[in-house]
């Protein structure tokens, strides 16, 4: 690992922030409206069938669960598509790497920026849920941090996918075989305790599940097991971060 120059990270971040000003409307819209629709659909749909899930009102269960959905959508997709477009079509990364910025700093800066957005967008479903009866609590102030940490991992995962894939069309394989199952089996809309044992084990290696649990516990009270969830998210973030850097370097530097 080389040194991450603050000035280099700053350059990458400033580029993103300045660009974000020109498309923040559309990106904020898609990242917040989609999970909110899930929240409302499941909240009203299932909410009329079930009242309590895991000791929580269903709106509380799903209102905290969709935070993770918002984090996932606002991190992994922008990372996959944005990264691919920036190096393959816009040649933006050629310009950045010609400046005193190394691939490691480029990837880290991009992931930090996406994570920052996820940390923000991730809170939107929770705020909507408050309007529908989720009780505010002090622990909610920790939620942006969890969303940021989780978003960083997913951003790096998305960059890794973009670095590995030959064409943008191949992204649909990843979306349907990896992201959709992870999204569904995370305890967002229904508790994983009702699933067969193998699926429960699978859920435990799903970073999104750990994000869901941490968010729920932040809102309703932390438990000892949250250290495991936190540890998992940190480890996931670190591993995909390093992988994203090494694969991106292969892609960008001949």
């Amino acid at each position: 690992m080389r040194r991450l120059d603050r000035a280099a990270l700053m350059g990458v971040l400033v580029r993103e922030v300045v660009n974000f000003r020109s498309f923040w409307r559309s990106s904020t819209f898609s990242s917040t409206v989609e999970p909110t629709i899930y929240l409302l659909a499941f909240g009203f749909g299932f909410g009329s069938l079930v009242t309590k899930v895991g000791g929580l009102d269903y709106v509380q269960f799903v209102g905290t669960g969709t935070v993770a959905t918002a984090v996932l959508f606002s991190s992994v997709f922008p990372a996959m598509f944005g990264t691919f477009v920036k190096y393959q079509f816009q040649h933006t990364y050629d310009a950045i790497l010609a400046a005193p910025v190394d691939t490691e700093e480029l990837v880290t800066g991009e992931a930090l920026w996406i994570a920052t957005r996820s940390g923000t967008f991730g809170c939107f479903p929770m705020l909507v849920a408050i309007a529908f009866g989720l009780n505010p609590s002090w622990g909610m102030f920790v939620v942006p941090v969890i969303a940021f940490l989780s978003g960083f991992g997913w951003a790096c995962f998305g960059i890794l996918i973009a670095a590995v894939m030959k064409t943008i069309d191949n992204f649909s394989y990843v979306t349907s075989t990896v992201i959709t199952p992870l999204f569904l089996v995370a305890g967002t809309f229904f508790p994983i305790s009702g699933l067969p044992q193998w699926a429960q084990i699978a859920a435990n290696i799903n970073p999104l599940y750990h994000c869901v649990q941490l968010v729920r516990h932040a809102v309703f009270g932390f438990q000892a097991e949250d250290l495991w969830h936190l540890g998992f998210l940190v480890a996931f973030g670190l591993i995909v971060w390093r992988l994203a850097i090494s694969r991106m370097e292969k892609r960008l530097v001949d």
Partner: protein, 298 residues
């Protein structure tokens, strides 16, 4: 011997079975403009990528502004500006925003950012288009902005990769004036091009590249007199006639080159014997280029 902005010795870069750069020596003395002239596929772009450590040489020594590459490439990149062949501006941003982003990427101190942007706008003559989105600019303006963007940190060395490819003749001349001004102000320049006229007009010295190596190096006028002599005779005619002229010239030991519609006999001033009828003209850098690289270019 003045200091070298770029010093490349025996650089080799392979891509699988293809050797893009095959033992290249290249010097850019500080304050001069060196033209890297070669046909498409000669290894010019790979050479440019080696200089920014976006490609890592398999063999050879490489130093930019006194920094050894690739180990010390970041320091080198901080002191040079790069104008890429492919336009990679942020198209939804304004002219000014594009420059602002690069003042950060090139670490211009906060207090000097405003001034750096103004200076770059001035150099590229874009001050009155500062608020325009890149999408709204003409091709020539975009290229000027690419150059301005590479200058925000007042680099000592500028790399220009095919700076005028695909532009109108008028726009091209406008860019030449801009590049010439930068050189006269002391910026060292390495410019890759496959336009002969561009190299002849702007470069103090030219390195002719073919198949990844330098096949000739010197001042444009020296290269012409050394390789093509003073005068050339261009013979026009039907393809069969051109073949005849070529065969005849070969038999007499006269160097020739094809120009598509004609055959050119070089070193006409030294030729003894009967020259075929044709247009007598002064030998050019293009003659050298075609002679050395064996390839026709636009």
């Amino acid at each position: 011997m003045s200091a070298l902005a770029i010093r490349m010795r025996g650089a080799v870069k392979r891509y699988g079975a293809v050797t893009a750069v095959a033992g290249l020596d290249l010097d850019v003395p500080e304050g001069t403009c060196v033209g890297l002239l070669g046909p498409n596929g000669a290894g010019k772009s790979t050479t440019m990528r080696l200089l920014t450590a976006q490609a890592i040489a398999d063999e050879g020594e490489l130093a930019v502004l006194g920094h050894e590459l690739p180990a010390d490439s970041k320091a080198a990149r901080a002191a040079m500006g790069v104008v890429p062949q492919l336009d990679n501006l942020d198209t939804t941003l304004t002219v000014e925003q594009n420059l602002l982003v690069f003042t950060y990427l090139y670490r211009v101190p906060r207090a000097e950012r405003r001034e750096a942007i103004e200076r770059a706008l001035e150099v590229a003559n874009l001050a009155d288009r500062r608020k325009a989105k890149v999408d709204e600019l003409s091709g020539g303006m975009r290229r000027r902005l690419l150059i301005a963007r590479a200058l925000v940190h007042e680099p000592r060395l500028l790399l220009l990769d095919e700076p005028t490819v695909g532009l109108d003749p008028q726009v091209r001349q406008e860019l030449w004036a801009l590049i010439d001004r930068l050189r006269s102000e002391g910026t060292s320049i390495l410019m890759s091009t496959h336009y002969i006229e561009e190299a002849a007009r702007l470069a103090d010295t030219v390195t002719v590249m073919s198949h990844g190596v330098a096949v000739a190096c010197g001042r444009p006028s020296e290269l012409v007199s050394e390789h093509a002599g003073r005068e050339a005779v261009e013979v026009y005619g039907a393809p069969s006639r051109l073949l005849e002229v070529e065969d005849d010239a070969r038999a007499r030991g006269w160097p020739t080159r094809r120009t598509g519609t004609s055959v050119t006999i070089l070193r006409a001033e030294e030729a003894n014997g009967e020259m075929p009828d044709g247009e007598r003209r002064v030998a050019t850098l293009e003659d050298v280029f075609v002679l050395l690289t064996g390839e026709e270019i636009s």
